[in-house]
Symmetry: C2
DNA sequence: CCGGATCCGTTTCGATACTG
DNA sequence: CAGTATCGAAACGGATCCGG
């Protein structure tokens, strides 16, 4: 968004104002799907985002109370970015985006089994994913990832 | 998005590529929530979007097969923009955005009763809204709007 | 009037280089 | 590693004009 636009009473304006930029989505995506948490991880994975742009987006998301920054206890050079409760509440939106993309992307880059599983039981899956991400996990990456949990639990559970 | 960025395998990239700009959201919002369908209606309601920007966004959305343009039968000066099936599939995303906004917007501009109703029965509400919009209706505006149907049906149905 | 297209000053982006 | 500084290029947005 180039310029602060007039505010209007509408159901999604607050969302659009808070985001308004696609890099912001990709940062949240990196956290939720891939468990990225540091400046360097975002920089290397977010389709080659420039460092100044990344810094400005992180600052904005922090200011919007979607992210919080905290020093890494084990490595004081690093800063850990995590989602706040407000940020965690974005997960359903991301999952619906993933759903739409899986359905319409000709290259179909999303794992269809996972998407189907989410659609089959949105309420419980939203909750499971939220709790996993809140605890520092992610959907696809790392030990304790959501897909790992689902594989353990099996398709029938 | 300024520049075509590197494509990567990720669940929401296709979505981000297709949108990438907040004006596009507002156009879809105008259709789904308020039943706008012409260039002039978008121009007057979308927070003062410039006509050249609006034209470029409509062209892009049409090219992405999210919108289709057709001449208005009753007034040949006008063009009617409507959502394709691919466009209709965006509705769940918009509704999750509305949900998030209602929860976190300090000015709380969204009708909370409607949002709560959607959350209480997402599957059926998504379907109802989709069919209403497909038929040319909208959520808030016009006769046969979704909120009107819900009022008629009553909160228990 | 409606739906754009064109022109043009201004803003913001983004690649690179640089610093703590 | 985590950011800032610089600067050219691109997109924006307001005004204006045009065809039907």
């Amino acid at each position: 968004m180039r310029q602060r636009r007039r505010r209007s009473t509408c159901p999604i304006n607050f969302f659009v104002e808070a985001f308004g930029d696609s890099w912001s989505f990709l940062i949240i995506r990196d956290i939720v799907f891939f468990g990225k948490h540091t400046f360097g991880e975002f920089a290397s994975s977010s389709e080659g985002i420039a460092s100044n742009i990344l810094a400005s987006r992180l600052a904005r998301l922090e200011q919007e109370s979607i992210l919080v920054k905290a020093p890494d206890e084990s490595d004081r050079r690093k800063e850990i970015y995590s989602l706040t409760e407000k940020g965690l509440d974005l997960i359903p939106i991301l999952l619906e985006m993933a759903n739409w993309s899986a359905k319409h992307d000709p290259e179909t880059s999303a794992p269809l089994a996972f998407v189907a599983r989410v659609n089959a039981d949105k309420e419980n899956m939203f909750r499971l994913i939220r709790e996993t991400v809140r605890a520092g996990g992610a959907i696809f990456a790392g030990p304790g990832s959501v897909v790992e949990q689902l594989a353990v639990a099996g398709p029938g559970s």
